[in-house]
Structures are given as structure tokens and as C-alpha cells.
């Protein structure tokens, strides 16, 4: 019988194009804005399996908001959202420059993905808790966390709320519903489920949100999160930010034979939705739907945000080595800031001129914050966290061996 079969061979997925080639996303099916239905939040997950293979979109090419997921946000709310995204983009630009100037050791930007965290934040209530990765600073910006504190952390200066202990951008703010970022991918996804279970155990009304990248869905924590969320119907929104890349590795390596990342939810009976991650209105609408499910004790929702990492992975990375330089321009879902701007213009609530003016204002506010932060020092100059801080906080109370070591260190 074996003789009947030709030799096996290993299949190794490859992206469509590599450096030198012409970017091509023609294989990425993009449904028309407004075409995906909006089910009731208590829908039976089995009835919406197809949502895991489509893309919920609100803003069409003409900048109109269309379809059943539209109509949730006022002009005012949208203008605020636009400002959040612009702020995040300006913040990124300044911090990238600060890193090049040696004011910090490391930075990670959000270019192209601003809508995801900025819009999601607006679907939450005070007291809800995010378990973010390193690419959701929009949750802080849209949540009103002071930029200067973010910069103090990035500069590891004397005012750093984390006392210089953490890598830049690994923020933490309990008050702003932002759990301490881990440098270890995935770990926080299952913790979000635990937090949500705790809220349910405590008969609270607060919900949690877990965050993970497309590449990191391969980690074990992702599975544990889905298993526990499914079994205990935890009030949690589980967010996958599919920005097409995991450092140099294209999303096909993590995704394998499944058509989408959202599809992972199907095996757990968890409603799974895909959404245009570059569409502020669509992100908000889906986030609110999922948050409402959680808050009504209907259990978890898995959301895949389809977006694109326009910049380098981090300041240690140069993407031109592994993808065409102009790939981001070919990305079919456009730029989230421009799309929202166009929509507001179309709505008559905004203009190109006001936009340019706002860009300048936003940049000013970032620069003001940066000046303020730099007064407290930057990584290699000015005020620093103390060496004593290094020994504190390992435990609530410093045990004798650490006291001995601190003494040896002469501090």
C-alpha cells in the first residue's frame, strides 16, 4: 500500500511578495462597507460563524458611514476620536526621534493601527480593565492618561512612574484600566480572562479586555484564554490585532490553514468577528457590541482587527529586509486617520484646513509634554530613578537577603 504514495514534502507558507516584488493584496477579500449584518448581542454563536470570515466595515470609499454597524457616534465623539489618533501619531513621531537622539533605548510605534486602541477605549466604562500588548498606547491616550507620564516612563527619568525598572513603553496604570505590559508575548491574554472571572465571581459589573497580536496567537496563553473564557463564560473581550506581520514573519505562518484568526473562536463556541481595524467607526461599533455581550453576562467575544503595521516592528527593526518598502501604500484598508478625517469632512463637521491646524496643535501639545518630561531627565542625562528603587518592590516587604544586597551595593 505504501508504494502507492509518492514521497511526502513539507509545506512552508510564504508571503505573496518579498523585497523587490510588487506589493499585492488582491488576494485579500474586502467586503463592501455596510454589507455585514449586525446580529443581536445574544445571538447564538453558531448562527454567526460566517462573521469570522468576513470584515465588518462602516466607512466606505466615499467616506460615508453605511450599514447596520453605523450611526453610533456623534460628531463630537468622532472629532475627539480623530484627535486621539492624531495625538498618538504625533506622540510616536516625537518618541521615535527621541530614541534616535539617544534619549531612550527603545520605542515601538502604532502607525496605521491607531484606530484599534483609540476607538476600543471609548467602548469601555470606568473600572474596566485592559490587558494590553505594547501596541495599544491609544488606550492610554484616549483614556486621558497624561502624555507626560508616558514620556517619563519612556525616558526612565526621575519622574518615571515605574522607577526605571521597565523597558520603555511598558506602561502600567491601574487607574486608567491599563494592566502592566509584559515583554513576554501572550501571557496577559489569559490573565484578562482571570480578571473577568474575578469580576463575575464578585458579582461586579466591570469587564476585561485582552489584547494579542496575530503572531502571538500561536502562544499557549492564547489557548488557555479561550479554554477558560469559553468554559466559565468570562465577561471579557478578546482582541486579536492582526497587523499582518510579527517582526519579519507574515501572518500566514501563525494563521496556517485557517482562513482568519477570528476563526480560532469557532472551536470554542465563542462568537468571533472580524472588523476593519482602520475604520474608527467599525472598531467602535464592534467593540461596543462585544462589551455589551460581556456586560450582559453573555460571555466572551473574539474580535480580529484587520489592520497593517506601517512602521518597523520596533526601533531595533528594519522591515525593508523582508517586505517591499511600499507595501503599506498598497494596503487596501487605507489609513485610519485620513479615513476618519474624510468622513468628518464629508459630514460637514471638519475641513482640510481645520485638520492642518489641528495637526499643528496636537504636535504642540506633544512637544509641550516632552519638554516637561525632559525636565525630569532622559535615559542618559538629568534626573534618574535611584539605585535604591532597584531593590524596592520585589516583595511588599524587603526580605533580609535583599537588605543585605542593597547594603552591599552601598545604597
Amino acid at each position: 500500500m505504501m508504494d502507492d504514495f509518492p514521497p511526502l514534502s513539507l509545506h512552508v507558507p510564504e508571503p505573496e511578495v518579498r523585497p523587490g516584488g510588487t506589493p499585492d493584496f488582491s488576494n485579500v477579500p474586502i467586503p463592501k462597507a455596510g454589507s455585514v449584518p449586525r446580529p443581536p448581542v445574544d445571538v447564538d454563536p453558531r448562527d454567526i460563524r460566517d462573521l469570522a470570515f468576513s470584515i465588518i466595515r462602516v466607512l466606505n470609499r466615499e467616506g460615508e458611514a453605511v450599514g447596520p454597524w453605523s450611526g453610533l457616534l456623534s460628531d463630537e465623539a468622532l472629532l475627539e476620536g480623530l484627535r486621539h489618533m492624531m495625538t498618538l501619531r504625533a506622540f510616536d513621531a516625537r518618541m521615535l526621534m527621541a530614541q534616535r537622539q539617544g534619549k531612550t533605548s527603545f520605542y515601538m510605534q502604532h502607525m496605521g493601527e491607531e484606530a484599534v486602541s483609540c476607538a476600543f477605549r471609548k467602548a469601555l466604562e470606568p473600572g474596566d480593565m485592559n490587558f494590553p500588548t505594547y501596541r495599544q498606547a491609544g488606550l492610554l491616550i484616549a483614556g486621558g492618561y497624561p502624555m507626560v507620564d508616558m514620556m517619563n516612563q519612556i525616558f526612565s527619568n526621575e519622574a518615571d512612574p515605574l522607577k526605571g525598572r521597565q523597558l520603555p513603553i511598558m506602561y502600567s496604570s491601574k487607574e486608567h484600566g491599563f494592566f502592566s505590559i509584559s515583554g513576554n508575548l501572550g501571557t496577559q491574554f489569559v490573565q484578562a480572562v482571570g480578571w473577568a472571572m474575578a469580576s463575575a465571581i464578585s458579582n461586579d459589573t466591570r469587564i476585561a479586555a485582552g489584547w494579542i497580536g496575530d503572531g502571538s496567537t500561536a502562544e499557549s496563553d492564547f489557548h488557555a484564554a479561550l479554554v477558560f473564557a469559553s468554559t466559565y463564560r468570562a465577561p471579557v473581550v478578546l482582541n486579536i490585532v492582526n497587523n499582518q506581520w510579527a517582526i519579519s514573519t507574515f501572518q500566514g505562518i501563525a494563521r496556517g490553514g485557517a482562513g482568519t484568526f477570528a476563526a480560532r473562536g469557532l472551536g470554542f463556541g465563542i462568537p468571533a468577528l472580524r472588523v476593519d481595524g482602520n475604520d474608527y467607526l467599525a472598531v467602535y461599533a464592534v467593540a461596543r457590541w462585544a462589551a455589551e455581550r460581556a456586560r450582559r453576562n453573555l460571555g466572551p467575544t473574539l474580535v480580529e482587527y484587520v489592520t497593517y503595521r506601517v512602521g518597523a516592528h520596533s526601533t531595533s527593526d528594519d522591515p525593508s529586509a523582508y517586505r517591499p518598502k511600499d507595501e503599506s501604500e498598497a494596503w487596501p484598508l487605507g489609513d485610519p486617520v485620513i479615513r476618519l478625517k474624510n468622513h468628518l469632512v464629508r459630514r460637514g463637521a471638519w475641513s482640510e484646513e481645520r485638520h492642518r491646524q489641528a495637526e499643528a496643535e496636537v504636535m504642540d501639545s506633544v512637544i509641550v509634554a516632552q519638554k516637561e518630561a525632559e525636565k525630569h531627565g532622559t535615559l542618559h542625562s538629568g534626573g534618574k530613578p535611584s539605585v535604591r528603587d532597584m531593590f524596592e518592590g520585589v516583595y511588599a516587604e524587603m526580605p533580609p537577603h535583599l537588605r543585605r544586597q542593597r547594603h552591599q551595593a552601598g545604597v
Binding site: M129, R165, S180, T187, A198, H223, A224, A396
Partner: protein
Amino acid sequence: MPRMTMIEAIRSAIDISMERDGKVVVFGEDVGYFGGVFRCTAGLQQKYGKTRCFDTPISELGIVGTAIGMAAYGLRPCVEVQFADYVYPAYDQIVSEAARIRYRSNGEFTCPIVVRMPSGGGIFGGQTHSQSPEALFTHVCGLKVVVPSNPRDAKGLLIAAIEDPDPVIFLEPKRLYNGPFDGHHERPVTPWSRHPLGDVDAGHFTVPLGKAEVRRQGSSVTVLAYGTMVYVAEAAAQETGIDAEIIDLRTLLPLDLDCIVESVRKTGRCVIVHEATLTSGFGAELAALVQEHCFYHLEAPVGRVTGWDTPYPHAQEWDYFPGPARVGEALVRAMEA
């Protein structure tokens, strides 16, 4: 005072903690309805309801990972890993997360969890029901590591661990669940009901973390031990007639170094005993500390008697287990050096 086995003492500690603090929750594999394969949580689901004591999927990562999230919320999870041999799938969550959350968030988030797990050999459990992985946790700053050796300590230490604001790894020497075991496997075991340390206060009390206890006063040689090895050391001292001072460390991290140093400076000799494999076992840290702090008092090299550097075998269990004969030889060697 009521007599308790170590299992009953552990159950009592959890019960009292759940009763006093509604934030204490308990879960793990087979922990809920059935009450745990060693019955340490029997009856708790009935008493406190299934949202405070429940069965989980078989994912040690999930058990510890959700516990960390719950602790960040404000609960105090006391979770069970069915055997210490199965803790490795949760190792990343323990090392990279539980141990670091307070530090990296500058105290904004904390992780008051207890991870209980039966450890150690002597039950013909083979390589996957016999391990003593304590040294894999003592190297991780931010954790506390506790190993009780009797019902009274087990209860007091476990209550202290649950009330502690930081993550505690709580290793329960399963060979001691029903009675002290001195390594004489050919003899019947005394049940805890006939041992003074089986007398356990029914109410709330704590044994502080970080404090060792001298279990046998002696002047000739100090034995550092914990868990089952405390009884093996006692048997060895008795059988060799060597006047050993036996210290039950109880907490390995943070360690009660003062107690150790005081004793070794007095005796001038030191033997360390543990079940875990030798190389990079916790005995290495103990030996390093003793020679550092008692160098000018030592009259013999610090000895180590441990499991051999092989996986825990099934059939050769009694050749592997550091029994009273091997410990006795080390005591004699220390005295003759």
C-alpha cells in the same frame, strides 16, 4: 486540640481562610466537586459554592494565568497543581508574570496567589509523581517558597501564605500527608494522630513565612532539611547516635539565614539533605551560604545528601531516596572530617 493529618490541616487552613475572607477562591484540576485527588479541598465546594471552589480544565498555565488575573482584580486565589511534576506548563506564568508584576508595575498591581502542589517521592510514583522542583523556584526573585513538614506547620504556613501579599509556591511533601516518614519504608508508618505535631489548633493561626525551626537540639553537627527529610535526619541522628542539631527550614525563600548561621557556628559542621537532584539543587545555595557565613567556624566540608542526578526511577525508589543510611553516613563523615 484536635488531631489532624496533614491533609486535614491543609483543608482546615483553606476552609478558615475562605470563611474569614470572601476574596479567597480555590480551584484546580479535580479540586471542586471531588475535592482533589488527595482530598485537600474536600467539602469546600459544598460549603462555599462552586464559584469559590471549582474544577478547572487541565491547563496548569490556565490555572495560574487566571489566578494572576484574579489577583490583579483583588481576589486571593489559592490554586492547586495536581502534582509538582506538572507545574512546568505554568512555569512561564509564575516566573515571568506572578513574580514580577509588583516590581514592574511599581506596586500598582500585585499578585497575592498561592500555588499549592504535592511534591517529593516515596510513593512509587515514578518520574512524574515524585519530583521536588523547589530549586527551580528559589532562583526566581519575587516568589516565596514554602515546604511544611507537619500538620501544624502546614496549617499555619498555608494561612500565612494565603494572607501574604506576594506569590507563594507551597510544596506539600505528599509522603507526609498521612504520617511522618523517616525513610524506613519496610516499617509501618506512625499516623499523625499519634504524633505531637498532629495536634493542630482548630482555629485561625499563622506560622510566619521566613522562619526556620530547630527540630532537634544538638551540638555536634547541624542538619539542614525540610519536608520529609526532617524525619529521615531525625532517624539518622538517632541511629548513629550523633548529637545532630536538626533545622527544619520550612520557608526556603526568604530563608532564615540567622537561624542557620547561629547553629553552624555552634556545631562547626553542616550536612544538608533534600530529595531533589544534587546539581543546582537548593542544597547548593545552602552550602554556598554556610561556607560564606561560617567559614571560620567550619571544621569539615558542608555535606550534601540528595536525590541522584537521574530522573526519579520507579523500581529503584529506595536506592534513589536519600534514606537514613545515606544521611547517617554523611553525619559520620562530617564528624570524622
